[in-house]
């Protein structure tokens, strides 16, 4: 096993008594591409919230590159090299896709360097390249508020790539994308995985199969099982709580009526 980029030690998050994460232990190697799946409400998004500092753990530690993140603010964590795509697309609606990308692409995030620094030509090239990758070249100079849902999803993925953090946290990147786009995003992530550590959350199992190496299944705030895609898909517990079986469920639904 290589060097750990992220270690979660015994993290619990509770909201008014409800434990969204329960004594969660988890670790991610440097350069690893990890897929996280799990039922709705298992705590996947909360997990990302904890890593990015949006939510402070009630108990336990989060170590990134060996450093405890507890006392850091969101932007400090981001500057350490953690980037995130949200579950529902969050982009800057009054900026154009190009500007959205430029802002995140900028590596000098301090006040004065933002004020006095000039965008490097390399950055501009990256942005143009990315616009093409995410298929928004035609819309590059329209306000982002005018994009459709799927276009917004792609833009936010682009923003994450532009930010180029050491650790990419990707929450449901392909929800609402067409199959073709899904495959493109998969390829993009695979390419990125050569130089970055990535955590992907997704419910689209076809997509998961496309990119997955190691899969972690979360359930009720803790890890249910971990393994490669085949192991996980055939694990009866995963089938029970997550994947379901067509015939069985139909009966189930019927009997509940």
């Amino acid at each position: 096993m290589g060097e750990k980029i992220l270690e979660i030690e015994d993290v619990t998050v509770s909201f008014d008594g409800f434990k969204a994460l329960k004594n969660l232990n988890f670790s991610l190697d440097k350069g690893e591409l990890r897929v996280i799946i799990g039922p709705n409400g298992a705590g996947k998004t909360t997990f990302l919230d904890v890593i990015t500092g949006k939510t402070k753990p009630t108990q336990g530690r989060v170590l990134f590159k060996g450093k405890n993140l507890r006392s850091l603010k969101e932007h400090q964590i981001a500057r350490m090299g953690i980037g995130r795509k949200f579950q529902t697309p969050r982009i800057y609606l009054n900026l154009t896709p190009r500007e959205n990308l430029e802002i995140t692409c900028n590596q000098q995030k301090k006040l004065w360097s933002t004020l006095f620094g000039k965008p490097k030509s390399a950055e501009r090239q990256t942005v143009s390249g990315l616009l093409e990758t995410i298929g928004l070249t035609a819309n590059a100079d329209l306000p982002a508020s005018k994009l459709s849902h799927g276009e917004k999803q792609r833009l936010e993925i682009g923003m994450l790539v532009a930010q180029s953090p050491d650790l990419l946290l990707v929450d449901e990147p392909v929800a609402g994308l067409t199959d073709e786009e899904t495959e493109n995003v998969g390829n993009l992530l695979l390419a990125l995985a050569q130089s970055h550590s990535i955590m992907v959350i997704e419910h689209d199992m076809e997509f998961v199969r496309q990119i997955a190496r190691k899969v972690t299944v979360l359930h009720q705030g803790s890890v249910l099982c971990e393994g490669n895609i085949d192991e996980v898909q055939n694990d009866p517990r995963v089938i029970e709580v997550y994947l379901g079986q067509e015939v069985e469920h139909k009966q189930g639904a019927g009997s509940r009526e």
Binding site: E74, I91, Y92, N94, L95, I103, N106, G117, E132
Partner: protein
């Protein structure tokens, strides 16, 4: 494709440079007009009025900077405006023979100059204080508020309350600031009579130049990456954090700059109106400032200036013509603008076909579906397929 795009961008850049030159040219022309032509055309009273309105346009720029671009609606800019005015006003009140006190102090039995008045004897200090005091106060207030992620409406209401507080304070400190009266009856500045024609003309020219400088500053702040970031903060502040920026720093900085601009405006206004009083910190005045910007066109610097001039002239006109009912006009004006022209006058002109300022942003749309070859061929294919 990439090559094309690169050319396109370079073309765009050249276009940008050219339009920047055109803009500078227009502004230069307006400045020349204001400084050399207008004074020969209108009476000194009207020129003084224009000079004051131009100082108000400076505050409007400051407000547009934080409201239009950063989404912070401050209802407290009167404070900063007033502080700027007081800073220069205190210096002016100290232009008395050695050992004497400003006239009003004697009336209230003050025998010794209060300690904080002393530094204002020095002109360099006073003129720095004009921007520094409001700027620092804005930074402090902003820090205390933004740090806690208080924003939007709550920020507005807090600034409004702050206005009342400062009004009360200055209004109540009879001995320190001459209370409600404010500082009036200025005599000399740097040895020349404040009220004399040449001094007033100098102040007027200075106002024009400062307005242009402020415009350039705001232009620079809002057009580059910094400006983008301000818009981003307005759109989704917490998202900005996850991209690694600290919005608090940015907001504190722009708020401070905007406060300093207001202070500058207040000083220029005071020099030309000849008085500064707690009325500058009246709640209504601060709201009016915002309304100038709203009417001119929020998020457009030209709009802010146009709005400030227009509203103030309208008010001056209506109150002269219909002294008793001009409030109706004022109220109606706000209503109409906010409901019918949500983007202000400049926004409306820009979006309507009346005016094609510069390169109007063409909304992209698909080519007509009937003539789009891609669609045509696909449709045909499907038809043949389903016929099979």
């Amino acid at each position: 494709m990439t090559a094309d795009a690169a050319i396109g961008r370079r073309g765009l850049k050249r276009g940008k440079k050219r339009s920047l030159l055109i803009e500078a040219g227009i502004i230069g022309a307006i400045a020349l007009l204001l400084i050399f032509i207008i004074p020969t055309l209108i009476s000194p009273f009207r020129l003084n009025l224009l000079g004051r309105f131009l100082s108000l346009a400076i505050v409007a720029l400051g407000i547009d900077l934080i409201w239009g671009y950063t989404g912070l609606l401050s209802l407290g800019h009167g404070i900063f405006f007033g502080l700027g005015g007081y800073a220069i006003g205190m210096h002016l009140k100290l232009q008395v023979p050695q050992g004497e006190l400003p006239d009003f102090m004697g009336l209230y039995g003050v025998t010794e100059l209060p300690w904080f008045w002393h530094p204002f004897q020095a002109f360099p200090f006073a003129s720095a204080a004009v921007v520094l005091i409001p700027g620092i106060l804005a930074a402090l207030l902003g820090y205390l508020v933004f740090r806690n992620r208080i924003r939007g409406v709550y920020f507005s209401i807090l600034t409004q309350a702050a206005t009342i507080v400062f009004f009360n304070f200055f209004n109540g400190q009879q001995k320190l600031f001459n209370g409600t009266n404010g500082l009036v009856n200025f005599k000399t500045l740097l040895g020349t009579a404040v009220g004399s024609r040449p001094s007033q003309f100098t102040f007027y020219v200075l106002t024009v130049l400062l307005l242009i400088a402020t415009y350039a500053l705001c232009r620079w702040l809002t057009s580059g990456r910094f400006g983008r970031l301000l818009v981003a903060i307005r759109d989704d502040e917490s998202r900005v954090r996850f991209s690694g920026y600290d919005p608090t720093e940015f907001k504190v900085l722009v708020f401070a700059i905007s406060g300093a601009i207001a202070g500058l405006a207040g000083a220029m206004y005071t020099l030309q109106s000849g008085s500064v009083s707690p009325r500058a910190m009246d709640v209504a005045f601060s709201i009016e400032m915002v309304i100038w910007v709203a009417i001119g066109g929020r998020g457009s610097l030209v709009g802010a200036v146009v709005g400030a001039l227009l509203v103030n002239y309208a008010r001056s006109f209506f109150s002269e013509q219909f002294a008793e009912i001009w409030l109706f006009f004022q109220g109606a004006l706000f209503l109409i603008v906010v409901t019918v022209l949500p983007d202000g006058i400049v926004g409306w002109l820009r979006s309507s076909d009346l005016l094609r300022l510069g390169h109007r942003r063409q909304l992209s749309t698909y080519p007509e579906i009937e003539v789009n070859p891609e669609v045509q061929s696909e449709r045909q294919e499907i038809e043949t397929r389903s016929e099979e």
